[in-house]
């Protein structure tokens, strides 16, 4: 059985005259039901990596496989269909469509798949909204919701087509700590309940410490890729938490790993 998602020798270079080599020979594999994070400094290439994993962007070289299928050979429309059925996205800036209600926003991936809504999917959408705690406001325009509520609606939207993988780019980056805790808890619950693979880009080491696996990237290269269970609590604390605390207090710029 092939990996759920794997990257082989991925390079990403921006620009023609002035070239920025953002990702350098990345090799990565993800399995079903993994709950993982990608950490690294701002500008290290996390978002670029996630977008390539999510087939939103194409690598300059290398291959992306999903369940053994080479995504780099597909055209844009085929990728769109693939994303619609396989992937759920949660972005830092929630990105709900302001023209639609919360419920409608949740249904959009399903509409794009089927053209119109099936009754059971409407029921599912309502259940998901219940689950993320926004059901009383499901008929409100998304712009009438708070930041935390919007991000939770985005999580429900990411789930509506029952994707195998959910990609989240700093999902709590714009939220207060209480909302962030809620959103994190929610993602974990969904991972356990639906066996959905999560790949969460974050520079919040608290979140990383709660993941099963941490991939750390620096200057476009993977510098660490380890299951948190392998390390002791102490090691994880030293690797991830202190730096977060110190950084918060402005004592260090960023943790120097290795």
């Amino acid at each position: 059985m092939a990996n759920l998602l794997s990257l082989v020798d991925i390079n990403k270079i921006y620009g023609k005259k002035v070239q920025t080599h953002v990702l350098k020979n990345i090799n990565l594999e993800y399995e079903k039901a993994e709950f993982t994070s990608i950490i690294g400094q701002s500008g290290s290439g996390k978002s670029t990596l996630l977008n390539i994993l999510g087939s939103l962007d194409r690598p300059t070289s290398g291959r992306v496989y999903a369940e053994g299928k080479d995504l780099t050979t597909l055209n844009d429309d085929a990728l769109a269909i693939f994303r619609n059925q396989m992937m759920g996205f949660i972005f830092q800036f929630h990105y709900l469509l302001p023209e639609f209600s919360a419920l409608e926003n949740v249904l959009i991936p399903h509409w794009l798949d089927r053209g119109s809504a099936q009754a059971e999917k409407v029921t599912l959408a309502k259940e998901l909204l219940e689950r993320v705690g926004v059901s009383e406001r499901m008929n409100n325009r998304s712009t009438d919701l708070s930041g935390g509520q919007q991000q939770r609606v985005a999580i429900a939207r990411a789930l509506i087509n029952r994707p195998k993988i959910i990609l989240a780019d700093e999902p709590t980056g714009n939220l207060d700590s209480e909302s962030a805790t809620q959103v994190n808890g929610l993602m974990r619950e969904i991972n356990q309940e639906f066996k959905t693979t999560f790949i969460i880009v974050t520079h919040d080491n608290h979140i990383a410490a709660q993941c099963d696996r941490v991939v750390e990237i620096k200057d476009g290269m993977i510098v660490q890729d380890y299951p948190t269970a392998e390390k002791t609590k102490q090691e994880n604390w030293e690797n991830l938490a202190p730096c977060y605390c110190l950084q918060k207090e402005g004592l260090v710029e960023w943790k120097q790993s290795n």
């Binding site: 978002s47 994303r83 023209e99 639609f100 959009i108 798949d113």
Partner: protein, 417 residues
Amino acid sequence: MFIWKAALRFLIEGRSQTLFIAVGIAIGISVLVFLNILITGLQQDLVNTTVGDSPHIVVTSREDPLQSLFNPEDDILILSRSGGMFDTSRPFNDWQYVMDQLGNRELLSAISPVAEGSGFISRGEKTVSIRARGVDLNRADGIYNVRDRLIDGDFVVGKNQVLVGIGLAEELDLTPGDLIRLSALEGNGGEPGPANPSIAGSYSVRGIFDLGSQAVNSSWVFISLEGGQSLYRLSDGVTSLELQLNDVFQAEELARNLEKSYPSLSWSSWEEENPDLLSALSSQSISSYVIQAFVLLAVALGISSVLAVSVMQKSKQIGILKALGISTAGVSRIFLIQGALLGLIGSILGSVIGGFLLWGFFTFTADETGEPLFPITFDPLVFIMAIAIATLAGMGAAAIPARRAAKLNTIEVIKNG
């Protein structure tokens, strides 16, 4: 369909922008509808006053006049070629059959056989050249509307009883009951009167008509069909059949169709006979179409630029939809539908405004009796066409913005929060 829903929501969300352009389209389309109906009405009126009381198609025999002129037994006929009296030499003998055949055509409102030729009327010392038209008066009335325009005397013709035009009556000082001498200019093309006693005779004037045209009033003389036939030695033949149609503008097409069915006859429509009128009409139509085309172009450009702005405004939404799996064609369609909807809504509104403009125009330009300047018809086809064209133009105008939207890069949009 999500795509329709998205198109509608995008339009509704851009309230003032949508309203603004819809009103713009409406104004454009109202001008289009107004102009179209006005010009059509104007042209119809012009044509009706010009050819309304005259035949729309004249059927004559195609038989080459020269052949009948080259009658070896009669040298005189050959001489007459230069006299230009061809019409009397082209007898149309199977007219009764053709008339029966045409009789059941719904397009035709009147058919009138005519046995006519040139001639002279003399009274006392005065001689005037005329056109003697032998007709079945009731049938001719269907075309020329003589009965209503008879200003003196009775609506009667006979073998020796005539109706004359008012111009002629004034010139010869005729009143009903007067006797005149009428001679056909036939054959020798020469002097009327005693020189050719067989084709001249004494007639009584029964009535005087005014057909509104100076040329007609000063030259036409109606006699009975039999009178015309014997005057011009046509025996049972006539010189032409005159047809009138319910719709003048179908004359040319009908003439060409009938020509195919009856190739031995010549079918000439009023359009052929009035090239000046026709070219006036067509240049009027062309200038009206040019104006309409530019109005439509302005409408299309308006739609196009509004949608181009909308693509910019909605770029975040487009990026998200693409991330969520919309096809490039789907993105295009959202904007094509918006263009079509703008065209549709704007043109429906425009049709209503155009209708009011026409109503206003004809109400305010009406004379004291409330009669409009000229009659117009609110042809629903004009409105349907305007709406259809505007909708298509809207969709066409959306093509460039739609392409731009489809090409938007998801990553760029998502990254720049």
